[in-house]
Each structure stands twice: as structure tokens, then as C-alpha cells.
């Protein structure tokens, strides 16, 4: 995983609450065996007309969205399905962080495992960002602070998640280092209570 310490970007604002992972990437795009190539699938049903033309007015299709790496969205972002493809699609679409007032649990976990930052800020800072699409923001992972203009809003990050983000450590490497403890647990727990056939 690539270390993430500081993200500077203008924002794209999608002022919708409860953006579920079926919107971020509809299920028909999950028939893949790869993590790559999901950029076109990002918000597909909001973003593209049936014939594949960009849907006029959708925020990601506006010229000012070009190159933006921070998405500002409504509360409870990423609810619904556990599909990690939602994070991969956001990343393929050029995003590195989402700012919201609340994230669904599984999405938050999936994001952090991919070096994608869920930035949960208070209502007032969020409202300011929603009012001003295109705002230049800086997300300081180390400090857990989102800043824009003279404003600073802190966001929570578990110490371990922060460590993983800034060092690029992936959780699997950490779990593999627990081999002795896992083996000890298994010795105590005994065999599986069934014989699969």
C-alpha cells in the first residue's frame, strides 16, 4: 500500500445522504476478477446516459470536477453492500478521500485497507464545504485535520489506521506477524467441529 500523509485538492460536492455502494458501483459491474478498470463504473447510473453519453448536470461530469481528488458527500456514505469495489471504483475515478459527517462501518474499513481516507467532520464544517464546491482543501492524515481557508476541522482516525495510512503498512502483513499467537489460540481451540465433505 502506498503511504498517504497529505492530500491537497479541490473538492467535488455530491450533496446526497445515504449514498449506498450500489450507487457508487452498481452490482452488474462486480462481475470481474480484478481490482482494476472500475473507473467507468463509478456512479455509473448517475453519471452516464443509457447510450453511454455523460449525463448533463451530474457533478462528476462538470469541467471543474476534472482532477479533483476529494469528494464531499452527505451523511452515512457507503451504506449497504460490503463490496470493496466501491473503494476501488472511487480510486479508479481519481479520488483519494471522501468527506462526510458519517460513514457506514464496512465502507470505512474497506477504505482504510486501500489507503483511501474517510474524513468524518462535524456538521458545520461539512455544510461550509457543501456550500462551496471546488474549495481547495488539505487533508493532513498525520494530524487528523482537514483545513480549507482559515478553517480547520479535525477528523477521527484510530491510531492503528493512521499508522497504516502513513507508513503504507497493510493489515495482512500485521496479521501474519501474529503467527505465534494465532497458532497458540488454535492449539487451545482444537479442531473444527465438523468434517467437511
Amino acid at each position: 500500500m502506498k503511504p498517504v500523509r497529505l492530500i491537497r485538492s479541490n473538492t467535488v460536492v455530491l450533496p446526497v445522504d445515504n449514498v449506498d455502494t450500489d450507487q457508487i458501483i452498481p452490482a452488474r459491474f462486480l462481475v470481474t476478477t480484478s481490482r482494476e478498470g472500475l473507473g467507468k463504473a463509478l456512479f455509473a447510473d448517475w453519471r452516464w446516459e443509457k447510450d453511454g453519453r455523460p449525463r448533463e448536470g451530474f457533478v462528476l461530469n462538470r469541467p471543474e470536477a476534472e482532477g479533483a481528488r476529494v469528494l464531499v458527500a452527505g451523511r452515512n456514505f457507503g451504506c449497504g453492500s460490503s463490496r470493496e469495489h466501491a473503494v476501488w471504483a472511487l480510486q479508479a475515478g481519481g479520488f483519494e478521500a471522501v468527506v462526510s459527517t458519517a460513514f457506514a462501518d464496512i465502507f470505512r474499513g474497506n477504505a482504510l485497507k486501500n489507503g483511501f481516507v474517510p474524513v468524518q467532520v462535524d456538521e458545520s464544517a461539512h455544510a461550509r464545504l457543501v456550500e462551496a464546491p471546488g474549495t481547495e482543501v488539505a487533508i493532513d492524515v498525520e494530524a487528523g485535520v482537514l483545513s480549507f481557508g482559515a478553517r480547520r476541522a479535525s477528523f477521527p482516525l484510530e491510531p492503528f489506521a493512521r499508522y497504516c495510512l502513513r507508513s503504507g503498512l497493510d493489515e495482512l502483513a500485521f496479521l501474519l506477524s501474529k503467527e505465534r499467537a494465532i497458532a497458540a489460540y488454535e492449539a487451545k481451540a482444537g479442531p473444527a467441529p465438523w468434517r467437511l465433505s
Binding site: Q23, V31, T33, R83, D105, K178
Partner: protein
Amino acid sequence: MEDGRRTLLDKIWDAHLVSAETEETPAVLYVDLHLVHEVTSPQAFSDLRARGLRVRRPDRTVATMDHAIPTRTGSDGRRAPAEGAAAEQVSALERNCRDYGVTLYPVGDERQGIVHVIGPELGLTHPGSTIVCGDSHTSTHGAFGALAFGIGTSEVGHVLATQCLLQRRPRTFAVEIDGTLADGVTAKDVILALIARMGTGGATGHALEYRGAAVRSLSMEGRMTVCNMSIEAGARAGLVAPDETTFSWLAGRPFAPAGPAWDEALARWRTLPTDDGAVFDRRESLDASSLEPMITWGTSPGMGMPVRGVVPAPDGDASREKALRYMGLEPGRPLLGRKVDVVFIGSCTNSRLSDLREAARVLRGRRVATGVRALVVPGSEKVKKQAEAEGLDRVFREAGAEWREAGCSMCLAMNDDRLEPGQYAVSTSNRNFEGRQGPGGRTFLASPLTAAASAVRGAVADPREVLSSRGAPSLAGDEGSAIGPVIPRDSDGTSPEGSAIPAERGQTKLLGTTGRTR
């Protein structure tokens, strides 16, 4: 906790700690059972390959195919094969399971089915165990008093390689459901009412424990339906303490303990229920006696109301305005009598034998209304066989419904079972998100009874009304004669003059719930 009195969640959590959480690091939690399917696993197996890792515990890993596979029967009378990218996923799963020694129940195997149907059915879902799957509806297994939750694909890789996950303990949340359900009101209505009250993010960060007399009197299938949709309130897990209903349901299943091991397991399982006086972080209560059949009107499972209710006003809430626009609905109007195009009975929420029996209870001797497509999709091969042994397939076919092979099907429209843009469906599945059942499709979530009644009526219907119209099996093609008129779906969503839909009954309030999602 502090005084030694523990909740069901605490007990399972403590027993599965490889290492406890600290300020700096999450807990390392051991996983007893890992369920795997074709859609969220290929990238995880690729990770193992890239790192030269093995599957640590193939004996605790079970795979099947459910999400992307067709549920249609081909002209040769057999299930249509997966095609294109879905076929690649299916063969990737076959290859991965073969290479890594994982037990797979593929299409054609009598144990194949939706992961959350086959786990319990095979007796793999044990009280007190930890169960994960790359699927958010893994919460289903909590019905047995297991800690079961959905994970992403990276975590699927973690569990394959280490049988462990890094986790913070969820907060505890007691949901007390007392009272008795009236006839025609089911577990699905309980959970839809609860989500309508709590909102789709209302239980984020928590594990729900469903308690109380109404939960005790639910069947295992009903408990699974309730736990299944815990995720729709934002909770990763839902649990019901195991009891005699649980034990007698599990006894004798292929992978349930047997002989002396059964007695030992039983003694252990009986210690699982939450200790009297244990403290929960949050509490909510619901009176089951006051519930009516529920239906959703919007594009999130929290946008629900009694089936006789009226679509609520958005009151300036942008999400509700957006939902109403997408659904083509007007506030202040009933859904009852509104024409539907498709009825879907299936999914990990409602595709078990008891669900199919409920649907058949309505459809026996009646006909699916002209112009309505009804699909009945059993949750597993076993459910299919049992249903056929009882003649339920004949009931469905004679009513004019399609009887399918086991799979997720139109719940998420990954295969070719999809709504057309603009179509309305009453579905027994779990999500009414925009486009969930096909781009532009519009979903009303409801119980199998309500779905079947709506199929007969050709419009959103109250199952109590349809069931009480017994003796009118000649309803075929004459929907409405005994059960009121059908409101045509016209551009402005209004009903014709003289509609007999009793609006005053439509205003039934549900426990002060406004149907708001926030």
C-alpha cells in the same frame, strides 16, 4: 461488563480473542467459519497467490456460487450456464477452491445455494461462533447466537491467510421486541418497522441483540430474516440468544455436532445468553402487537410504512424528495392499489421454506394478475427440493409464477434477472436502493405474504385482505373484484375518482414512526 455480567456479544468476543485490543491496535479476532462466494473472493485469492500464501484453515472455509449465476432453466430443463464475465468468476472460484483445497458447493451440487441459506441449513452456523463472509448480509447467521458480519475483499484475504481479522469490539445495542404478531404480520414486517424507526445509519458501530417475547416466539427462519436486515440499519451484526428453538432446529443437520459432542456443545451454548443485569450501550423497544404489514416507499430500507399508510411528505428533506422523484410517487397518497409490474420472492432475506410456504398460502388457488411477472427463487437446492416435495412449485406454477433455480437472482440484478427501467416491483429482498434490481427499476420491499398478495392483485395489496377473500379462486385475470379496485399508474400518480381505497385507514401511525430515515 465491569461487574462480570456479560452480554451475548461480550461472551462470543472474549472467547475468540487471539489478542485483545489496546489503545494502539485493534483486537485479533479468530474466525470459526468463513463463507466464500464467486463475486467478492477472486481478488483475495489473487493476493494469496501474489504473496505465496496458503489458505490457513480449509476446514473452516466453505464456498458456493450464488450472486452472479443465472437462476433460469434452459431449454434442456437444466440451469442455464453463466456467461461472459460471470462465467469467468465461476471458473475462477472453481480453480481457486481446487488449488487451495477449499470445499466448494458449485452449481449442480445438492448443497448449493445462497451462502446465508446454506450455512444454517448444513448446520455450519453454530451458536457462539464467529462467522464472516464477503457479503454484508452475513448478519443473518446471528439468528443462532453467532457473531456474524460482512467483510470486504481485503479482509476475505486476511481470513483466508490467517483465519483472523483485526477488529474493534462493536458497541452493544439491545432491541426489546415484546407483544404478539397479528396474523398476516411477519418477521419481515418487524425488521422493516424497526429500520423505519432507527434509520439506515441508526445502528452504525453497534451489534444489535434482538430480545423479548416476540423474538422468542419467532421461528429460526423468522429470526434469520430479522438478523439479515440488521445491516440495513447500519449495524454490522444482529444477534438472537440461542434457545430450544435454535437447538431443535440445528439437531441432526449434516455439520451440527452429534453424539457426545452434541451434548457438550449444548451445555456450552446454554451459557451464551446475556446475563441478567448486563449493561448495553443503547436500547430500543418495539411493541410487536401494534405492527401491521410493512412496505417501503422510497430508495432506502428505512423509508418504510404500514402497507395501508400514505407516502409521507418530504418536509424539506432532500433525500426523501430525491427518493420520491426516483420512485415516481406523490406524498400523501396510499401505495395500496398501486399497479406493479414484477413480484420477486427470494433472496437471503426471504427464500427459505417457510417463506415459500407463506407465499404459497396466498397463491394457492389464485392467479398472478395479468401483466404481472412473478418470480419465486428458492434460496438453496435443498429448499427447492423440499418445496417441490410439498408441491409448492405446482402452486406457484399453477398461479402463473416462474419457479427458479437457487441463487440471489433479482435481489441485486447481477445476472439476467432485472427490472426494466421504470418498472415497479414488490420484492421480498432487502434493498430498495436506486437501480438495485436493475437500472431505473423501482422496488417496494415487503414480506412474502405481501408480495404474493400484490402478485394476485396486480397492485400493492394488504395480505390480510387477500387472505380473507378465500372462496374467490376465480380471481384469475379478474384482479380486484373481491378486493377493491386497482389504481392505474398514471403520470401524476393520482387515483381515479371513486377509488374505494380507504384513505383514513391509510393514516395508521406506527408507533410514532414517521418513516423518516433521519
